[in-house]
Each structure stands twice: as structure tokens, then as C-alpha cells.
Symmetry: C2
Subunit: 254 residues, 2 copies
């Protein structure tokens, strides 16, 4: 495929208003994609749509690009957030990448009683979301929040936003595959019963939520507990599955 490379930049995009590409993007464009002056690329910044731009000049540290014409108007993604407890680095990275592809508007890392990692690399998340957005034809990047404690997030929650809570670890009695105690409806059925509107999906850590967290979650009217089938999904798989189902029922996959 000879499609033009697609790059997210920070600057404004307007006809004839040249922009300088940062060093990393210049390296990618020149050394990886082998493009040179005269070639065209596609640029987006999350505000001005997608532009076809021409490479005017390339140096070792920067490239100068001139936007020629807007090829797509700006479009956003549905108002869907993903709240997730960071897991192992590779799995968290995968969750961030796939959530961007699947069209999440905001990524909200939360720490829970059993969260394995308290370290969140926001910069790393930004790199991953940028690359995923470039490859997936998105016109914006998801917002990324700083790590926050789940109880504080719940304290400040706007009840107009539905919080869909996936409890993949099953119940505490050791019968995750069939135990009905405390588990939610299948997610597709639960979504069919909800009105469209702002939503967030909450995925717990590998060890699941604590009893106290579950009790608190279920006490809120804005929380809808759901299940994702009879097998136990890993955290990153549960996140992807929940995003897919929401996009199909209430999002922009309809």
C-alpha cells in the first residue's frame, strides 16, 4: 500500500501555514517511511481535521511541511471513558493502544485495593495513543488522566455519566464461572436497557475488586454491573470487549 503516512502534530493546520515536524516524527518519516521533499503526508491535530501536506524540506532534526488542503473535517469519538486499574506494563500498554483504536474519549487510570502497579507512565501512554490514532484513522487523541484513587473518582462522579462496571474476577466464593451471586447482567442486555448518553467502563485489576469496593460500587445508582461471558477474561481483554459492545450499542459503530 502506498498510502501517505499519517502523523499527529500539535500545531494548528491551515493552508499555506508551514509547520515543523519534531525530531521523532522526522526520523519516522525520513528513515522509516523513506519520504523526501516533494512527497505528501497526512496531518491531524485533533482540532482542524485531516490535511494533505507536502514535505518542503528535511533536515536531521526537523522537517518542514506545508499543508495543502483539508481532506477530512474534524470529527470526534463518542463520549466514552475507560477507567482501568494499571496491570503489568505490557498489558496496560495493550489496553491503552486498543482503547484508542476502539474509539475511547478519555483514559482514566485508577488505583484500587488490589492494583498491582502504582506507577503510571503518562508520557508513555501519550506515545502509544498517538501511534494508535495515526494508524487507526482517528482524528483526535484520547485525553489521559493522572492516576487517581477509585474512591476519590467515585466521590467526584457526575451521576449523569453511566459507569459500567465489569467484574471479571467473578465472585469471592470461588465460583466465577457459574456463581450468580452478585454478578451483573450480560453486558449487551444491560446496555440495551440503558439510555444512550455519556458513559464510562470500569475494569478492575487482575485480582478483582475488594468486597468493600464492590459494595460501594453497587450502592451507586449511576453504576451498572455487567458480565462478559462464562469465561474469565484478563483485564485487557475485558476492557476491549466492553468497549466493543458499548460502541456497537450506543457508540459510533451503529
Amino acid at each position: 500500500m502506498s498510502t501517505d503516512p499519517r502523523l499527529f502534530i500539535g500545531q494548528d493546520l491551515a493552508a499555506g501555514q508551514a509547520v515543523a515536524l519534531p525530531k521523532e516524527d522526522t526520523h519516522y518519516l525520513v528513515n522509516v517511511m523513506r519520504r523526501a521533499a516533494g512527497d505528501t503526508v497526512r496531518l491531524f491535530n485533533g482540532r482542524d481535521g485531516e490535511w494533505r501536506a507536502q514535505i518542503v524540506e528535511t533536515g536531521r532534526k526537523a522537517a518542514i511541511l506545508e499543508p495543502l488542503e483539508q481532506t477530512r473535517p474534524q470529527a470526534g469519538v463518542p463520549d466514552l471513558w475507560l477507567l482501568f486499574a494499571p496491570v503489568k506494563r505490557q498489558k496496560t500498554d495493550l489496553m491503552v493502544e486498543k482503547a484508542t483504536e476502539l474509539g475511547v474519549a478519555r483514559l482514566c487510570p485508577v488505583s484500587t485495593a488490589r492494583t498491582q502497579s502504582e506507577r503510571v507512565r503518562i508520557d508513555r501512554f501519550r506515545t502509544i495513543t498517538k501511534e494508535a490514532a495515526e494508524q487507526t484513522e482517528r482524528l483526535d487523541l484520547p485525553e489521559i488522566d493522572e492516576l487517581e484513587r477509585l474512591d476519590r473518582v467515585l466521590d467526584g462522579w457526575d451521576p449523569a455519566r453511566r459507569l459500567i462496571y465489569c467484574d471479571e474476577a467473578g465472585d469471592e466464593a470461588g465460583e466465577p464461572w457459574g456463581g450468580a451471586r452478585g454478578r451483573g447482567q450480560p453486558m449487551a442486555a444491560a446496555l440495551a436497557g440503558l439510555e444512550a448518553g455519556p458513559a464510562a467502563i470500569l475494569i478492575g485489576p487482575e485480582g478483582g475488586f475488594s468486597d468493600a469496593e464492590r459494595t460501594r460500587l453497587r450502592d451507586h445508582d449511576f453504576v451498572t454491573p455487567v458480565t462478559l461471558g462464562p469465561r474469565i477474561l484478563r483485564a485487557e481483554t475485558a476492557a476491549m470487549a466492553a468497549l466493543v459492545l458499548w460502541q456497537s450499542v450506543h457508540g459510533d459503530w451503529r
Copy 2:
């Protein structure tokens, strides 16, 4: 969590009929999970349900386990296959792992006009499906086919099995985001119009299907073309999304 380790084995499982664990599983159990004689594990073989078993003896090359009681009866997954064109190794591995978690019955690697890799490591796939099944509480492993050419697979297709074809590369005219030409219905809507029954999902290579392949696919009555939202998903993401939607509408997530 102090859940018993869960292992897939090849042998029959019956009360009092001791089984020997292979070297790799013994290493995992003894050195990684730090279990010793007297501890219990969970065993499954795809035929006899899940059993609680006790470690009788551990050596450097094998462990002897004695099945004590069946804790779950055998249960399968819905009759859903995944046909996929192998992509880069890491992404293909991810697809195989996630398809196992999401409950696919059969994995069928197919080569297409634009398939990037003609090498398929069946042994590697088996290792991945075994580990995924162990972690996801599945009671069986998916079948794994040898690599076959897509046209031959279509030649021998049983028309009673619906083939759901995801064409994520969009159309050839360079308008993947909005071009209606030749693209299918949103998958959830397409599934709602189909009867339940045996199904397969077909995911193409990163470069998409060739025009000839598309024309051939659309000529078959057993093929349903579908789309997965307005963004362009990578092959492994498209596979996961399609499996999730099928499981929710026609599979065992209902």
C-alpha cells in the same frame, strides 16, 4: 489470590487414576507457582471436565498428580471459527491468545493474496492456546488447522456455516472512513438479521483483501460482509471485536 493452579493435560481424568505431568508443566508448578506434594491443582483435558487433583510427588522432570474429584462437568464453546491471515508474529500470537479467551472453537490460518507471512507455527499456537485456556477457565482448547489457501477453504466450505467477513482495510478508492462502496453493514446489525448456527469470522491481512478475493467472497450466499465502526482497526483488534460481537449476539455471552 490463592486459587489452585490450573493445567491442561492430555491424559484421561478419573478418580484415583494418577497422571504424570510433563516437564514444562512440572517446572511451572514447582518453580514458578512454588507448589509441592500435598498441594492441590485443577486439571482439565477437554473431555472429562475439571478435576481437583493432589500433588503426590514432584521430581525434576515430572510430577505425579492424583485426581480427587470432578469440580465441573465438561462444557464446550459455541461453534465459532476464526479464519485469519497470519500477520506479524506478535500480532498473530495476540490474536490466537485473545480468540482462545473469547471462546473460539477452531483457529484456521488462511493465506491470501496479500498475506505477509506464509509461516505458521502450529506448535507455538498450541502453547499459546493452552496457556490462555488455563487462565481463562475454559474447559477445552480450540482446534488449530494447518495453513490453507483462502480459495481452497472457500472451495470446500459447508454453506450451512455462515462466514462473516470483516473488511477492515476499507475500499480501494482510498476512502476507508466513509466510503460506502462495497462495505458491509455494521456487524451488530448484520448479526441481528442472521439465524443462530455455526459461524466463522474471516479477518484479512493488514493490506486487506485483493479485489479478486472480495469479488469472490461477495459471490457466495454463505458470506455476510460486515464493518466494525468508522475507524480502521488493526487485524488483531478486528478479530477480537468480531468475536466479542458474535459471542454477545449468538454465542454464550447472552
